[in-house]
Assembly symmetry: C2
Homo-oligomer: 189 residues x 2
């Protein structure tokens, strides 16, 4: 998606260790208009998926996910990194965060994910695929199907996307970064 | 706001300990269309505030905040509960979460909050006002002004709203809960 790629080129920074800093418009400060346009792209790509629900992981996935839910007229479920007092019956799984270098327990209420759900998973980044695999695990526990996955930015060199596609998942990324070495950003055409 | 009050009456549950469970449409599963309508209400109320930026706290504040940012054409900054690798220079403060009963350190990058900013703080709940006070602290550290605060649901019996209004803050809540005792929900007219 050109508008996103141009923004990554103009504002993104390639930090040591394969980290792409896009916190001026994606995952700390957010450009709401850009988020809306990216969600429009997902809504168009996923319009024939017969989805029943959007699912994401807090926190950076929520903004794109809520716009996709709005545009597709679907409820949006965000998986939690802690389980609050109000959640009783839940599915849980663990995930490793690349950016924060720690393990999380993810929880989702059994009330909101059912065996007949067709889920679209939306997140900001696809790197090693840890969050996606956690969602796959939660979906399996509930019996729900994942009909599509949409990511704003995929870091192809971390291979999560390849693995998910090999498993047959319908994975869409709006911008693909092929290399971040030497503090450069190599975007796929 | 009638549409929100009706939804609280039909789907909300009053749990022991003053907890309002609205996780079917607000803070776990989210109704994106309702979020959009609530954001329209905030955008209308705050249209003369000359705001430069929307600020919120991850995670439940992000959905209403991103819609308000979209409608008001303003960037949306979400304060983080952890500081990721990509954040270097930051303001930090601590906050106590009522629902989760624990302390958080909140962080915001100095890059995105400046002395000339006029902030609108958006969050899902106003209870004791802990998150709001943390935002006030972060704004003070940066020199920014808070021109308005918008909450989806205020629990008036926890007094955070009263305290903020007494201090002169421009606080708006779309639904006010006056009492949750005995597992009842008493909404203000």
């Amino acid at each position: 998606m050109e508008i996103l790629k141009n923004r990554i080129i103009s504002e993104g920074k390639s930090l040591d260790g394969g980290v792409l800093k896009v916190d001026s418009f994606i995952n700390h400060q957010m450009d709401a208009n850009l988020m809306f346009k990216m969600a429009e792209e997902f809504a168009e790509r996923f319009k024939d998926c017969m989805a029943t629900k959007i699912i994401t992981v807090e926190a950076s996935g929520i903004a794109p996910a809520i716009f996709v839910g709005y545009l597709m007229n679907l409820p949006v479920l965000f998986v939690k990194k802690k389980n609050p007092k109000t959640m009783v019956e839940m599915y849980t799984t663990t995930v490793h965060s690349f950016t924060k270098d720690r393990e999380y327990t993810l929880s989702v209420s059994k009330e909101y994910i059912k065996a007949n759900d067709k889920l679209i998973f939306i997140d900001d980044f696809l790197a090693g695929g840890n969050a996606a695999n956690a969602i796959i695990d939660l979906a399996k526990q509930s019996g729900a199907n994942i009909v599509a996955m949409g990511f704003l930015i995929e870091k192809s060199f971390q291979k999560g996307g390849d693995t998910l596609r090999e498993k047959g998942y319908n994975v869409h990324s709006l911008a693909v970064i092929d290399d971040l070495r030497n503090n450069k950003i190599i975007l796929r055409d």
